[in-house]
Amino acid sequence: MTVRVLLFASYADAIGASELSLKLPAGARVRDVLSRVKELAAGKRIPDHPLVAVNERYADENQQVTASDEVAIIPPVAGG
């Protein structure tokens, strides 16, 4: 399946993209998405356990993802 991954702010700058389409096996979990991102060139600039959201809700690394999900890797927030 292909999963859409969003990157923001310092993470988008580090990877050089604000959106990725990653091919993953069915049944993949958030941690598998993160592993694939970290295999990219410059992927090492993303921390090992960043905040992640699936479909606009904070999610843990154990959560399963499906082809229609939107996965976002969230840098430390700084609103307000």
Partner: protein, 143 residues
């Protein structure tokens, strides 16, 4: 209750008017503005960027929590994104309540939760070096 991520200046007086009601005796307005200093460095401006759909959803959750916890539906929040200059308002929270204690507490709840949860980031511009993304500064050193 209304929460929005906006890309235009925020009008605090409009938010005050939006929560006004003769059944409320107290209104607390919080205005967060761009400071000229951060950690001893002179700042000349900020860019705010957001995961906008999620930020609006998370903001709605925070408002619902505050409304239930403090028993009021008179809460309005706007968070601005884009390029902001010194003194510009980045976030405005208006809370009205029959009683002042709850108005202050609900306002405080919303700003603390918003700072901890909204997927919004800021890049500071400086007088003497390149812009930088600002890491979370929840706590005493943050406005």
């Amino acid at each position: 209750m209304r929460g929005a991520i906006v890309d235009r200046p925020i009008d605090p007086a409009a938010l005050l008017a939006e929560v006004a009601s003769p059944s409320n005796g107290a209104t607390v307005l919080f205005v967060g503005t761009v400071r000229d200093m951060n950690d001893g460095t002179r700042v000349t401006g900020l860019d705010y960027t957001a995961y906008r759909a999620m930020a609006e959803r998370e903001l709605r959750d925070i408002l619902a929590e505050a409304g239930e916890r403090f028993a009021t539906s008179d809460i309005v929040v706007e968070h601005r994104i884009g390029a902001l200059g010194l003194g510009d308002a980045s976030v405005v929270i208006a809370v009205a309540h029959p009683h002042r204690g709850e108005a202050y507490e609900a306002s405080r709840y919303v700003i603390e939760e918003l700072k901890g949860r909204l997927p919004i980031w800021k890049r500071e511009h400086y007088a003497d070096r390149k812009p930088e993304w600002v890491a979370a500064t929840i706590g005493a050193s943050s406005p």
